[in-house]
Amino acid sequence: MGSVLRYGVVLAAVLVAAGGVAYLFERWDYAEHYRMFVGSPESLTSPAAILRGALALDPASLIALGLVVLVLTPVARVAFALLAFAEQRDRLYVILSLIVLVVLSIGLTGHSL
């Protein structure tokens, strides 16, 4: 499990770094310091849009894709814990892990209460 986690983090870091270098290359001289909150463009707020942008090698989308992969690494940890509990025939903890995954999935849809 540890190696899957490591690969996930490495993949995320590579995507973010690659996108980051390209992003900096385009904007290194800009004056953007994120002082004013204007939200994010549509292209970066949903996984589908991010994937489309990343395939088109848009730097911001590549970074965003790396971030999505990063967010998925803890989810993978819970999934692996669930598998470990299943292997130990620990029904209580399989159910608890499942509950956590369900809550995580709700969170990942992005809809707030």
Partner: protein, 279 residues
């Protein structure tokens, strides 16, 4: 400064945050947000978005090392995560509705409260308390475990499980609201409320931190709190810093960690309140 310099400054600060975060179980968020808002004038919403990313990065980045060393208690982690993830979604929903300055003040107050709690507790660190047999909820939920020391495995059993669960729900809300890992609250709950050995508390908290943050990430992303140009140096800096920090954990002594922890939080809490109230 231009964007490149800005990015490098953020990267350097994140390196430090990641290092400190993996040593103390904080997750780096408590350093990142004040750094960005107070020192660099970044809007609080972008700051908490970047912070949330850093929290997941620290947690996942140092995770492999911890699991190998045998400290993390997965059952405790998963059980308490039911509380933290639910709380995180509630907290993130709140974050989308509160005005910026309000979030800043809440952030500062929470930091100060954490320090107050840490310093005012009179019980000795759990590592020094004698091992007790497990009973009640800890036994029914099979939450006991053991951890490696120089002299062999030491057994332990969590106490006051319902209290720990309740505090974790609160920690989840804070995490979602402020983009932090709530490592301080989590470690306090595990260490003081549930009396787990300190290194078990910090590593298990680390496991939970990433999962809790992932629960609010979707909401943050959809609302545009997480912006690529800012999240990028933060994530990479924190990852690098936490990888270095993870190597020090086994050799570190709990007492030193506590003091570093309390001092850092206090200073940052004051700064946040000052900023939020526009003093």
């Amino acid at each position: 400064m231009n964007f490149l310099v800005f990015t490098l400054v953020v990267f350097a600060g994140s390196l430090f945050a990641g290092f400190l975060g993996s040593l103390t179980g904080l997750g780096g968020g408590v350093v990142i947000v004040p750094l960005l808002t107070v020192a660099l004038g970044v809007d609080i919403r972008y700051a908490i978005g970047a912070s949330l990313v850093s929290v997941i990065a620290t947690s996942s980045g140092s995770a492999a090392a911890y699991l190998k060393e045998g400290f993390t208690n997965m059952r405790v982690g998963v059980f308490l995560e039911v509380a933290t993830t639910a709380g995180a979604i509630l907290g993130a929903s709140l974050a989308t509705r509160l005005p910026g300055p309000a979030i800043e003040v809440v952030f500062g107050v929470v930091l100060l409260l954490s320090v107050f709690l840490t310093l005012s507790l009179r019980e000795p660190p759990a590592a020094e308390a004698p091992a007790v047999g497990d009973h009640g909820l800890a036994h029914r939920l099979r939450l006991s475990g053991s951890y490696p020391t120089a002299t062999g495995e030491v057994n332990y059993a969590p106490r006051r499980v319902p209290l720990g669960f309740g505090i974790m729900a609160g920690a989840g809300v804070l995490s979602g609201l402020l983009g932090i890992g709530s490592g301080a609250v989590k470690v306090l709950a595990l260490d003081q409320a549930m009396r787990l050995p300190f290194k078990v508390s910090t590593t298990t908290s680390n496991f939970m931190i990433g999962v809790t943050a992932a629960a609010s990430a979707g909401i943050y992303l959809r609302r545009g709190f997480i912006t690529p140009g800012l999240a990028m140096p933060v994530m990479l800096g924190v990852l690098a810093g936490s990888l270095v920090g993870a190597r020090f954990l086994i050799r570190a002594r709990p007492r030193i960690l506590r003091f570093v922890f309390a001092f850092a939080i206090f200073a940052l809490g004051v700064e946040m309140i000052v900023t939020g109230l526009h003093l």
